[in-house]
Amino acid sequence: MITPHIISRAMLIAFVAFLIAAPWLIPAILNGFWVSVIAEIMIWSLFAASVNLLFGYVGLLSFGQALYFGFGMYGVAIGIATLGLSFWPAFGLGVFAAVAIALLSGIFAVRLTWHYFAIITVVFSLIFYFLAVSVKPLTGGDDGINFTLPPVFSIGDVTGSFSDANFQYFFILATVSLCFFLMHRVIQSPLGKALVAIRDNDVRAALIGLNVYQLRLIAFVMAGFLAGVSGALFAFFGRYASASYMFYHVSGEAVVWAIVGGVGTLFGPIVGTTLFIVIRELVSTHWEHHALIVGVMAILVVILAPKGLVGLWNEGLVRWCARAEATSARTDLQTEP
């Protein structure tokens, strides 16, 4: 009997296999350039996932995740360019900085109801955007800073470094996969169920003994962690950091990716991000106004398919399996003597 679960499992395996084979498969079919596009998509999917975690599972719409992305990014960039750190300490600094600022801002933000929460997340990200722009010597402002990347590891004669495109690809794949796996575990865990309960009915949640404020804060920090990791990866990937990535535009785009992909699903952010980045890559060579497509699609999805692509897919899958079940039951009946 075919269940949605089995189909999803199969697709997951196929997808992972594809990702692992991509560095050899893609250049053979298309062009090596697309391998680095896939790497970039993975980084941004993680960022979209941070939005999705807060909105899809906790019910909090943050329009300011670019702040934590920015801290992750600058933690790495400043760590390497100014502090002369090597790879892992810089990575650690970036993630730590993102989590710290997420905790600090979350303590205040999570107290607010959703309208004001959305607004204050933008305000916080704007404050730090302007700070980053004004402290130009340190951050390079909107122009940003470039730096060369130290190797990831060196054991004896073997060096692993991002200058090797394949190594870079697999490092990103591994990190992003690990984060998604952790997210999956959390969502299935008692903590994850409690978060969904809070989203569904926060009064009831308090009445059964859940500390709503504390749990929301934990979720906020987790989302900050994901955004921070994606920012750090971005800095490594581009050897570049710029304040412009902290602007609310970036946060907003991630919200669109998450919603178009499918809010409240694990793969929604990946699907949404892939769609928009592929469109950007395909369209921008011929027409520079691809942002128009983003805007139109955002509106269309929100009006026509608010559950997003993965949401639609899941619904369709359930219906298709139910029908397949019914049909086979009917044929069984017909073949009865």
Binding site: F55, L61, F63, F108, R111, L112, W114, H115, Y116, A118, I119, I120, V122, V123, F124, L126, I127, F130, L131, V133, S134, H249, G252, V255, V256, I259, H289, A291, L292, V294, G295, V296, M297, A298, I299, V302, I303, P306
Partner: protein
């Protein structure tokens, strides 16, 4: 000293223009529960339409009539087509207005282009104010803004439509139960919101650059005015806009404008966290 005076006056006048725009944002937020990310772009479209009016007719004054009207129609259409279907899922409206913002910016890029343009003020004289020769057009702009603000409050309190709007903002269910046509009020509100922002755009066009990014700069400021003034507190929002612009203008004379902006944002956060009903409670009805 002269620079300080100049900046203070400029700030004051900008504040009046922003008050106009922020009122539009406030009624959309207060009545429709919508965080309108595209509102700054409504202003920007106003400036662009003013430019086009000037290009096509050679007459800038026509823009004062034509642009707000077009803005009203656009706003009404947007409400019916985009907002109405998703009115009940508040979070999705933010995404929709963000999409709208992208569409407006790109449409302007396509039609108007990316080069910033300037419009020469239709009044070129200066007028002595407190010992400096001040651009007469700016004084005129202030006058227009004040008249428009006054007109808006008269509309809100003395006309049937305005009363309906206040009723719905105050207590939606009761208003509907009493027969106020809520749907029409929503369309009206969004239309007026766009029109106010567009009017602000026309007034501001000769004293700012006309380009597709001006909306992005102005949006945070409008939100600041709405929050610090107090959501639903229209006079408070107008007062906050003027005050904030005035203060930022003064601070600019001795500090980096970015610092001024950051302080306003920090103030806004404080208000959100400590006194979400805004600082000007006394002015509310």
């Amino acid at each position: 000293m002269d620079t300080l005076l100049l900046l203070a006056l400029n700030g004051l006048i900008w504040g009046l223009i922003i008050a106009l725009i922020a009122l539009g944002l406030s009624i959309i937020f207060g009545l429709l529960d919508i965080i309108n990310i595209a509102h700054g772009d409504f202003f920007m479209v106003g400036t662009v339409m003013a430019w086009f009016t000037l290009e096509l007719t050679g007459n800038f004054w026509a823009a004062f009539l034509v642009v707000p009207l077009i803005g009203f129609i656009l706003g009404a259409l947007i409400q019916r087509i985009v907002i109405q279907p998703i009115r009940n899922v508040a979070a999705l409206t933010i995404v929709a207005t963000f999409g709208l913002s992208l569409i407006l910016q790109e449409s302007v890029r396509i039609t108007f282009g990316t080069t910033p343009r300037r419009i020469l003020p239709p009044i070129q004289a200066t007028f002595p104010v407190f010992g400096i020769n001040y651009e007469l057009y700016r004084l005129f702009a202030a006058l227009v803004a004040i008249v428009a603000l006054a007109g808006f409050f008269v509309f809100l309190h003395r006309t049937k439509l305005g009363t309906w709007m206040r009723a719905v903002r105050h207590d939606r269910e009761t208003a509907i139960a009493m027969g106020v046509p809520a749907q029409r009020v929503y369309v009206l509100t969004f239309g007026i919101g766009f029109a106010l922002a567009a009017l602000g755009g026309v007034v501001a066009a000769p004293i700012t650059t006309v380009e597709f990014r001006t909306g992005v700069d102005i949006l945070p400021f409008c939100f600041m005015a709405v929050i610090i003034g107090g959501l639903g507190n229209l006079p408070g929002t107008a007062a906050a806009a003027v005050l904030l612009a005035f203060l930022e203008g003064i601070i600019q004379s001795f500090a980096d404008p970015t610092i001024a902006r950051i302080s306003s944002l920090v103030l806004m956060s404080a208000v959100l966290l400590v006194r979400p009903q805004g600082l000007f409670k006394g002015l509310a009805k």
